[in-house]
């Protein structure tokens, strides 16, 4: 399954996994990540989980209109952020990826400002919650239309290739997105061009309520890469280090001119599709309980504890610290002024067109 660290074999039948449920390193090569980075990865996973829980509370208290929980996806998302070069490479994420953009360095204040539709949102509170965007960090602004960000991701990668910038694109999406025409159009074009792009499918086997088996007749998503002329890797998406090493290899292969890859991270969605969904209609508590046994946080925590890098005390301290940070941000946001009404009319075009100026004037007086 794994030849060596820098050469995973594509079209593997069993998902690539590097740490066991008990947190033991099982790979035939040494883990060369520094202790600090390993700890950071776990801390970001934990922060992402707590962020998710905080989002749900904010939604229930009326401060957010919508949440698409990412709990269960943390390993894949945090790994992706570590696999790319921050500020050089570009991310084209989807709406369940706040764990990823947070780990890439998107400031918490920006994230919370976006999801609460605050005046402090860098995107001027134009989008519903769960749509990351950062010009500074090269995070392409999110779009709700499923898979519609994948063709632009490929376009950016083609631009990187023809201008020889040495950059790479990583774009992520769920399993449902792979049924969209845009997925096919984009990955097909990337294959034909040998564009430096990594496609990351966070496959939680549910598109809202629709089971993976109704999404495709293929045995998995990774195998589809074959038809597009690129390697496809099946990865245990609950194993942050497996996700990291595979994605990192794909990113660096892309940078080296070896073309695109498709990585399928097999994750679990612990929450409902969104705050507007009731998943008890289509899956049982027992099923969910079983999934949670494979919690990516538990596995990474055990791994760190086995190495003597983490303890119950560290866990409690970090939780306290991050929850305090959340609260401080929420307090700051509570003091922000309302989003100005006139912002509705800005940024449709570089310069406001006369008819929009007229409508603005009519409306605001």
């Amino acid at each position: 399954m794994i030849a060596d660290k820098q050469n995973f074999s594509p079209f593997n039948e069993e998902p690539i996994s590097l740490i066991s449920q008990a947190g033991e390193w099982t790979a035939p090569f040494a883990c060369d990540l520094k202790d600090e980075q390993l700890k950071t990865m776990y801390q970001q996973m934990l922060a992402a989980r707590l962020m998710d829980e905080r989002f749900i509370k904010l939604q229930r208290s009326g401060k957010m209109s919508f949440v698409a929980p990412h709990s269960g996806h943390e390993a894949a998302q945090i790994a992706a952020a570590h696999a790319v070069r921050v500020g050089t490479d570009w991310l084209f994420p989807y709406y369940r990826d706040y764990g990823m953009t947070y780990a890439l360095g998107e400031p918490l204040i920006e994230i919370f400002a976006q999801v609460t539709g605050s005046r402090l949102d860098t995107a001027k509170a134009r989008q519903m919650p769960m749509h990351p965007s950062s010009k500074e960090l090269n995070i392409f602004t999110g779009a709700s239309a499923i898979a519609s960000h994948i063709p632009p991701a490929v376009g950016a990668a083609i631009s990187m290739k023809i201008r020889e910038t040495g950059q790479v694109v990583l774009t992520s999406f769920g399993d449902g997105a792979t049924s969209e025409g845009d997925f096919h159009a984009a990955i097909n074009y990337a294959g034909a061009q040998g564009a430096p792009v990594v496609f990351l499918c966070e496959n939680n086997r549910l598109a809202i309520s629709v089971d993976f088996n109704k999404q495709t007749g293929a045995e998995n998503i990774a195998i589809k890469a074959k038809a597009y002329g690129m390697p496809g890797y099946l990865v245990d998406g609950m194993d942050v280090l497996a996700c990291y090493y595979v994605l990192q290899e794909c990113v660096e292969n892309a940078r080296a001119g070896l073309g695109p890859s498709l990585v399928e991270a097999q994750v679990q969605r612990f929450g409902a599709h969104s705050s507007a969904d009731d998943d008890s209609i289509y899956r049982s508590k027992e099923e969910l309980e079983q999934m949670r046994q494979r919690d990516p946080l538990l596995r990474m925590r055990r791994f760190l504890e086995n190495q003597g890098l983490w303890s119950e005390r560290d866990e409690n301290l970090f939780k306290k610290e991050i929850l305090g940070e959340f609260q401080a941000i929420i307090d700051t946001l509570a003091e922000a002024e309302k989003v100005p009404l006139e912002w509705m009319f800005d940024d449709v075009y570089a310069e406001m067109l006369p008819h929009i100026a007229e409508q603005k004037k009519d409306f605001l007086g």
């Binding site: 995107a123 779009a143 631009s159 097909n188 074009y189 075009y349 570089a350």
Partner: protein
């Protein structure tokens, strides 16, 4: 002297020469030079990295253009026929059009999507349509539809230099029908949103754009023979459109006929007509009349009859004059 389609190719070459970020992409735009030869000679001059043959996928073409534009290129994408834009329509509507707005102005997509449009070429319903209403109805897109070689040059240059996505519709039945001298100046531009008065007149105003300008001009010639003097306005640009000129000229004469070959219901001229009625009703001597295509798919056998030809325009003029 050059045709519209020659002007497209020459203008693209000039813009690619001027700005190395300008790239051309689409189906058959490379060695083939485009099925209409609108990109003729570009591949030999600028090579495969700047004149890119793409897969047969409008979603890939328009979507990738968005990504290229965001990353710093200035892509000019060709959709082989406007009728085939729909697989890429979501990329225009959900991605290109909303990018600046949804990112709070931090991202933008300076790109042009060119597409030959319009009927009268025996193309049936999948090679004849005029989908401009879809684009005009999508805030964030600009829409241009020239009718002459010179305007094609000036507007295409402006579109390529614009910071927002521009849908550039080309009147394909006029591609080779008109020849004229085109200004040599490599910086000759025509602003978006400025109409052109093709002919001044005293009895009524005829307004049109794109391919229908040809039939409108013919109708004006016929009217001249009958001693009826029509003012002829070419809108050239639909988003933004030159409301100021239209209202001023229509208010002066009080009578207007609006000609456009796309279907009647929600034809772009419905918008022009509504603005005229809302804003200068008191100046009107007759209701504005639209002469358009029909609310049917574009037919094959009745290819010419579907178009708002000179006779239909003349009948409308008569009604407006006799009102």
């Amino acid at each position: 002297m050059q045709t519209i389609v020659q002007t497209v190719a020459r203008t693209l070459a000039e813009e690619m020469q001027r700005d190395e970020r300008v790239v051309v992409m689409g189906e058959d735009v490379g060695k083939r030079g485009g099925v209409f030869l609108a990109t003729e000679g570009l591949f030999d001059k600028f090579g495969p990295d700047r004149v890119m043959d793409t897969p047969l996928s409008e979603a890939a073409i328009i979507g990738a253009a968005v990504g290229m534009a965001v990353h710093g290129l200035r892509p000019v994408a060709e959709i082989q026929f406007a009728d085939y834009v729909f697989p890429g329509f979501d990329q225009l509507v959900s991605q290109a059009a909303k990018l600046r707005y949804r990112s709070g102005g931090t991202f933008n997509a300076p790109m042009v999507v060119r597409m030959p449009a319009g009927g009268g070429v025996k193309g049936g319903h999948h090679h004849s349509q005029n989908p401009e209403t879809h684009f005009v109805h999508t805030p964030g897109l600009k829409v241009v539809y020239p009718s002459t070689p010179s305007d094609t040059k000036g507007l295409l240059k402006t579109a390529i230099r614009d910071e927002d996505p521009v849908v550039f519709m080309e009147p394909k039945r006029l591609y080779r029908a008109i020849k004229e001298e085109v200004p040599d100046d490599p910086d000759f531009t025509v602003p978006l949103g400025k109409a052109k008065i093709r002919q001044t007149g005293d009895d009524l105003v005829l307004i049109s754009y794109g391919g229908s300008m040809a039939e409108t001009a013919k109708a004006a010639e016929e009217l001249a023979k009958q001693q009826i003097s029509a003012e002829v306005i070419d809108l050239r640009s639909l988003m933004p459109w030159d409301k100021e000129t239209v209202l001023e000229r229509v208010a002066r004469l009080g009578r207007v006929v609006l000609v456009s070959e796309s279907p009647y219901t929600l034809n772009f001229m419905s918008e022009v007509s509504a603005c005229i009625c809302e804003e200068i009703l008191d100046s009107l001597l007759a209701p504005p009349l639209r002469v358009t295509g029909f609310d049917t798919p574009y037919p094959y056998a009745q290819d010419r009859e579907y178009l708002p030809g000179p006779n239909r325009i003349l009948r409308a003029v008569q009604k407006v004059l006799e009102y």
